[in-house]
């Protein structure tokens, strides 16, 4: 039995001639938060979809709890406890908190053929779960549209956890949020990890990732630039790696040149 909940060993994914991912290796223990950092086009989306079972890797292997796994589709990944919360959150804003929370997986009660949606139980669970993460839904029958962006994000995460996620894959959970809202979401992510989940946090915002992450994997043009533990890397170093440090250095030289000529 491996220590790691989920491992990517030299995973590659090609689309025709395009190399979307090349030799990406990363591993994650229970209770850990790994931040996957990368600029636009770095291969983050491909990696998420590989995790979620949408894409099959062309090379390399995915190992879950010591066993090599090939996902046959998104449902396989879900059944293995890998829950992906996409940016659109899969929430319907016109529907109530409860109806969203249990969408597609409604608890039932009653006789066969006359089974009804057990709204009472559903309301109770939804309110309880939201309460645990510090979001006070005054009324679980209120529409999700009335909630703030951070609250919606938390609702989507809370739903994934309730339905048995072991590995939580979060796609840019803070990108559309203000500072305060983002901190609420980040706090919740840390809390989820402390309860034994492994969290893969995909973001391009180092300032959000650095305080919460245990380890950091930087993607650049489909390749992993390595995984670093927090103690081994500074925020500044991460930032410069992510932006392609050399390119920024080059830019600085060029700007100096322009300034010199202008003077």
């Amino acid at each position: 039995m491996s220590d790691y909940l989920i491992q990517f060993n030299n995973v590659s994914k090609f689309f025709g001639k395009v190399i979307a991912l090349k030799d990406v290796t990363m591993k994650l223990k229970k209770g850990e938060i790994m931040c996957l950092l990368g600029d636009n086009g770095a291969g983050k989306s491909t990696l998420i979809k590989t995790l979620a079972g949408v894409h099959k890797p062309d090379e390399g292997e995915i190992v879950i709890e010591g066993e090599k796994i090939i996902f046959d589709g998104p449902k396989d990944a879900l059944d293995m406890g890998i829950a992906t919360v996409y940016q659109d959150l899969a929430l319907v804003s016109l529907m109530s908190v409860t109806r969203n929370f249990f969408m597609g997986r409604e608890p039932l009660k009653g006789l066969p053929f006359f089974k009804t949606f057990d709204l009472e139980k559903a309301n109770k669970i939804a309110a309880e779960r939201m309460g645990q993460i510090g979001i006070d839904v005054r009324d679980p029958s209120q529409a999700v549209g009335t909630m703030s962006g951070g609250e919606r994000q938390c609702l989507a995460i809370s739903r994934a956890i309730y339905f048995g996620a072991k590995v939580l894959v979060l796609d840019e959970p803070t990108s559309a949020l203000g500072v305060h809202q983002a901190s609420v979401v980040l706090k919740y992510i840390v809390k989820a990890a402390s309860q034994g989940l492994a969290v893969i946090l995909i973001t391009h915002n180092v300032h959000h990732a650095y305080p919460v992450g245990n380890s950091f994997t930087v993607l650049n043009r489909g390749k992993s630039l390595g995984t670093y533990n927090k103690k081994d890397i500074s925020r500044e170093k991460l930032l410069s790696m992510m932006a392609g440090g050399e390119e920024l250095d080059k830019l600085e030289v060029e700007l100096k040149e322009i300034n010199r000529l202008a003077n």
Binding site: L89, S93, F117, A127, G134, D136, R138, S148, E151, Q181
Partner: protein, 375 residues
């Protein structure tokens, strides 16, 4: 962004927030989709109560009259509302009514089928048409507006062509004699609670004919179907898993699909629902009139959609109610009949219908903003 709706509770002392009480019951009511239609229906009754209170409109006979018209429209409006909540339209409702009519009449009159078999045949055809509509919309991803508009023409054309081919005319009469002793037809052709009306007549509480029988003989089957379907669909929408899937499919089909809702199956089911409702409408009318007409049901799809919209359904899906559509139908039915009891020229009915719909859409739009935006 709402910061005031949020407060931090620790894990253990979570409790119902007392601010819940501050949400007044008026506010809760305002958030219900059927509110507008309920208010509209009350206003309509008050209006006719004042204008036509002493004309016989509100006698037992008069009331059954406008409730019959309302109920017929209501049967298809409810199904249209369910489909709209699921995010789709069906413009082929009216054509399906005509088609179902001849599916009953031609086998029964020209092929010698028993009436019950013809009725079952018509319902089977409805399931096929609805399934085909749904499948086409789900598989092609085309707007249902276009797909069912095509079906509007195809079905109406086929109805006309087939009827003329087989019968040489556009009407098929002679059904009334077949109703008696038929094991199924009574479901669509029997007035109920006759004893109640006879009793009311004997007490001189309602108007009598010269032979002493009451003028209003019983509750027409349309009204029973209408009430039954309103209760059934409301139960489905509010209390079952399938209901939750209807809202989800209409509200955000990608999101719904991502969490495992079988969106395609839900939508196909709803299309079958509108076709079957059209056939219930057709069966009741054909048995009542004793004949099928190829043009029966023309433009009914638009009235059904109008009633659904007045009843609070959003054209974009994901929001609405069956009860609202029922009230929408009652408004239209009452006005279309009530206008005869007033001095107003009946030509104005369509003006009213249009104006009512406009007001409803503006009102609904406002409600949707209220519901979806942070308070």
């Amino acid at each position: 962004m709402s910061t005031k709706t949020k407060s931090i509770h620790s894990k253990n002392n979570f409790k119902q927030d007392d601010r819940l009480k501050k949400v007044s019951s008026l506010r809760v009511l305002l958030n219900r989709p059927e509110l507008g239609a309920l208010g509209g229906a009350i206003l309509v009754f008050i209006f006719f109560g004042i204008v036509a209170g002493d004309t016989g409109m509100f006698s037992a006979f008069g009331m059954l009259n406008f409730f019959d018209v309302s109920a017929n429209l209501g049967i298809i409006a409810i199904a249209a509302a369910m489909l709209m909540i699921g995010g789709e339209f069906d413009l082929s409702i009216g054509s399906m009514i005509g088609f179902a009519g001849i599916c009953i009449a031609i086998p029964a009159i020209y092929w010698g089928w028993p009436l019950w078999m013809s009725i079952i045949f018509a319902f089977s055809m409805a399931v096929i048409v609805g399934y085909f509509n749904g499948l086409l919309v789900v598989k092609t991803g085309l707007p249902s507006f276009i797909v069912t508009l095509a079906m509007l023409f195809i079905l109406r054309g086929a109805t006309l062509a087939i009827t003329r081919l087989i019968t040489g005319r556009t009407q098929v009469p002679g059904l009334r004699v077949l109703i008696e002793n038929d094991p199924i037809a009574w479901l669509f052709a029997t007035d109920t609670f006759k004893w109640l009306f006879i009793w009311l007549g004997s007490m001189n509480l309602i108007d009598l004919r010269t032979d002493g029988t009451p003028l209003a003989t019983g509750i027409p089957p349309s009204v029973i179907w209408f009430i039954f379907l309103t209760i059934l669909t409301t139960w489905i929408l509010m209390k079952t898993r399938y209901g939750n899937w209807i809202f989800a499919s209409g509200g955000d089909k990608n999101g719904a699909r991502n969490v495992g809702v079988p969106v395609g199956r839900v939508k196909i089911g709803l299309f079958i629902g509108t076709a079957v409702a059209s056939t219930i409408f057709a069966t009741i009318q054909v048995l009542d009139a004793g004949s099928a007409d190829t043009m029966r049901g023309s433009l009914k799809e638009l009235e059904a959609i109008a009633a659904a919209v007045v009843g609070g359904c959003l054209l974009t899906g994901g929001y609405g109610s069956a009860i609202g559509a029922a009230f929408g139908a009652i408004i239209f039915g009452t006005v279309s009949m009530g206008i005869f009891y007033t001095d107003i020229d009946t030509d104005w009915f369509k003006v009213f219908l249009g104006a009512m719909m406009l007001i409803a859409v503006i009102f609904n739009n406002y409600i949707r903003k209220k519901v979806t935006e942070s308070k």
